[in-house]
């Protein structure tokens, strides 16, 4: 099976028939986006992966109820974010780590990679100041290419609100990242 040729709906239909390999292709395809969103929501890599696993398992159990006429990824993302919120509600989340997956180098100097590391750290700090919905909206829209309508479906809010969240989120991030971000482009 050439995975790129097969649509999400076809894979979901096969998975609904018990084909766990087809479901594995869906996991491979969507894991980066859902893990990233869970991470942005929970602020902790391990909890995010636990939530993503819970979400994928819930999706596997409910796959026969998925409507193949609707897009798959908002359906999946919604399940994963619900799992992440459940995890948070159960108060078992670990202490939120500072959102700095890539450690900034301590080497001084104008080295470009070092600047990028610093920028990523600043981004993580800036993200932590945003309201949860804006964080998710900006991440899904700019990093993972979700459409406004898809994000609206995931978050259960009007599309106009998503546009507003993306706008305010971007403006806040750019404001906090400062001129360094503009120079890096």
């Amino acid at each position: 099976m050439r995975n790129l040729d097969v649509t999400d709906a076809e894979l979901a239909a096969r998975a609904a028939g018990g084909d766990d390999t087809a479901f594995g292709v869906l996991v491979d395809r969507h894991a980066p986006a859902v893990r990233r969103a869970a991470r942005v929501l929970l602020g902790n890599e391990h909890d995010a992966d636990d939530a993503a696993q819970d979400g994928f398992l819930a999706a596997w159990r409910a796959i026969d109820r998925f409507d193949g006429n609707r897009p798959f990824r908002p359906w999946l993302m919604r399940i994963v974010l619900n799992a992440a919120r459940d995890l948070r509600r159960r108060a078992t989340v670990r202490q939120a780590e500072p959102l700095s997956p890539v450690e900034a180098s301590t080497r001084p100097g104008p080295d470009r990679e070092t600047d990028r590391s610093i920028l990523r750290r600043k981004l993580a700090e800036a993200m932590a100041t945003l309201p949860e919905r804006q964080r998710l909206a900006v991440t899904m829209f700019d990093a993972d290419g979700y459409a406004h309508a898809e994000i609206a479906e995931v978050l259960g809010i009007p599309e106009g609100t998503v546009r507003s969240d993306v706008f305010h989120g971007r403006r806040a991030l750019r404001g906090q990242l400062g001129p360094m971000f503009e120079e890096m482009q």
Partner: protein
Amino acid sequence: MTSPFDSRPDEALGRLLREGFEPPHHGAFVARIGAAVRADARETIWDVLAAWARPGMAAAAGIALALALWLSQVNSPEGYVATLADAVESSVPARLLTGGADGGTEAVLAAMVGDR
């Protein structure tokens, strides 16, 4: 630079977000989910079987016990003789032959003229 009003994704910010929140060990995570899904599928099958098994086993045990009791009654010589003796003693001819308190004469006459 992309305007915050732009309805297209902000390429630079998107790239930075992907780098900053890149989930590590993608292959290991996919394998972990695959294992969890397979374990869940097995668990589901066993759950179904277990749900069937509990009442099924109880019913089968009850039936087996009843059957065993009945067979032990019928197959044992004492049990068989006792059952046969009960049947014989309670029959009309036996009561007639033994001259029981039921009035044998009336019973014989009734049998002889009964169809007329």
